[in-house]
Symmetry: C2
Subunit: 188 residues, 2 copies
């Protein structure tokens, strides 16, 4: 395996796949794919068309190694993160780029910018209330699954707690938007 130089930083997806291999390995690419698919915060499709090329790149960079499983007649390959892979992962985690401190791209916030396109108060209120309801539903979803995680894994518990607090904040904010819209003039 020829190890290519890192011409630039890994993408978020590449880093997360590397992390998953480091954390769960030895395991197959398929297992990683399933984990991404089941994950609550699956912002990636994690289809075979994305995951296998990512693994290929990580292997070419010498960050992940793959060994064929002789007991399996299929093309099953067992992945492990290399020492170099762990080192790159470590600096990805540690060296927070400046943009990671900024708020994320919230699709509700994006849409609220143009709420004036909804011409009457009823339509604006309806929009805000549906977004609010969706946020509260997500809060309940997180609250439902947090207790089991608390027993299983401290890290998984904490990451899900982060998701919970984010959607709680969104729900709280939308409550304020709703109140401002109900009490004040139409937004334009």
């Amino acid at each position: 395996m020829v190890v290519k130089a890192l011409r630039k930083e890994l993408t978020e997806l590449e880093s997360c796949v590397l992390g998953a291999v480091w954390l769960r390995g030895p395991c197959t690419a398929y297992a990683i794919r399933c984990e991404f698919a089941e994950s609550t915060s699956s912002y990636w499709s994690a289809s075979s068309g994305s995951i296998y090329p990512v693994i290929k790149r990580l292997r070419a960079l010498g960050l992940v190694s793959a060994a064929a499983d002789p007991s399996d007649k299929r093309d099953k390959r067992v992945l492990v993160a290399t020492a170099r892979g762990a080192s790159i992962l470590r600096s990805w985690v540690r060296d927070l780029p400046a943009w990671t401190g900024k708020p994320s791209l919230d699709p509700i916030r994006s849409r609220l910018n143009f709420i004036a396109v909804l011409e009457d108060r009823a339509a604006q209120l309806d929009f805000v209330e549906r977004a609010h309801a969706a946020a509260r539903a997500q809060v309940h979803e997180f609250r439902r699954q947090l207790p089991t995680l608390k027993k299983t894994s401290a890290v998984e518990y904490l990451t899900n707690l982060g998701g919970l607090e984010e959607v709680e904040a969104r729900a709280h904010w939308l409550g304020a938007v709703r109140k401002m819209l109900a009490d004040g003039p139409i937004l334009k």
Copy 2:
């Protein structure tokens, strides 16, 4: 101008550009570009290489119309959203897809998943504390500029309030992570 059919939904960027033209128009593509560049939540580079092709597509779809300014010797074109554009924008704002209810992709949360790669407690604590400090800095940044927005524009005030509440939640969460790490065992 031949109007193409919408073969699928607009991307978030395309919708936001359409929204900006609808809101600020008549204006040039350059003005839109500047607005995106200055925006706090600029998740897009908004370079000319992205903005002009987007405008081109929106024009081809008949959502934005462009008129040459005879008083200007340059290739200056003044953009306005068409009625069809306003209608598409309206449904983009109104019809929230299911995924918009989910928590966003938080790079800190992504990294926390693999915090075990930082091998000693000091390194883990250092990571959490730096993320915490960055979040609090962002909170102060938002708090600083909110009062002026309150007077200027209700919508801009509300969207920035949303950003503030998100980073406040993140800061609060990282405080909890810090405490758990300081009081309990190392994360793995």
